[in-house]
């Protein structure tokens, strides 16, 4: 029963990540790509890791997976921020007017 819940969470996470990959190809501008695709990753990662924690039950492995999740949740926004800041400070142009 509890395994079914974990499988459901993993499936939801896989759908989220599929949308992130689609967004990586659908948007034409670098800034909109970094806004959507890298961030959908966060949601997918959190969901799939909760699924794995439920799947491995109450053990040291589950706590280790939680530790990995916590660390990635702290470091992932930092690396996204570093990429966006690097592009912005190097003068990559921001398209201000809406395109049709």
């Amino acid at each position: 029963m509890i395994d079914l819940l974990a499988y459901l969470l993993i499936t939801i996470a896989l759908i989220f990540m599929a949308l992130g990959v689609i967004g990586l190809f659908r948007f034409k501008d670098f800034y909109s790509r970094i806004l959507i695709s890298a961030k959908i990753e966060t949601v997918g990662f959190l969901t799939i890791m909760i699924g794995f924690t439920i799947l491995s039950g109450l053990s040291y492995a589950a706590m280790k997976i939680l530790l990995i999740t916590l660390m990635v949740m702290i470091t992932n926004p930092l690396s996204t921020h570093a990429i966006a800041r690097s592009a912005f400070l190097s003068g990559y142009p921001i398209n201000q007017e809406p395109r049709r």
């Binding site: 948007f27 501008d29 970094i34 806004l35 959507i36 961030k39 921020h81 921001i94 201000q96 809406p98």
Partner: protein
Amino acid sequence: MKKIIHTLILVLIFTGIWLVLNESLAVSQLLIGLFFSAVSILFTNRYLLEDDYLDAYAIKPEVLLHYSLYLFIQIYQSGFAAILKIIKGEDSVKIITYETCMSNELGICLLANALTLTPGTVTIDKNGHQLQILAFQDENAFTDITEGKTCSPYEMILRRMDH
């Protein structure tokens, strides 16, 4: 006295992480963990930080818990909003200059991290109390706040963190 209690709490947390990494609950492992936690905290305090560990990372545990719960809900909300954006395919962005109403450096840092963690906004630069935020053209949560001069919900929670 208060300082000793806080250091003890940190030592206990670090020992817990050590035990999880070693996958054992033996007494020898516990003693080694306590020793290394105390040594690492003292070393960081003495050589790596300019001011004290407890001053630089002063945040109440209950505020941190409330903040992470709020952030968890917020991540999923904006995740579903981002799906709509992908299906519609809007791709025009803008930069918002946002003035925080917090004075604490750690608070501003946590706010910037939370903004980057939720889908749809990325913090680009921090200059004193001003944050530059990259967002979509129709994002209006922060422009409304800039005109109205009130705090965002993140800051309302974070302002209670001072001891």
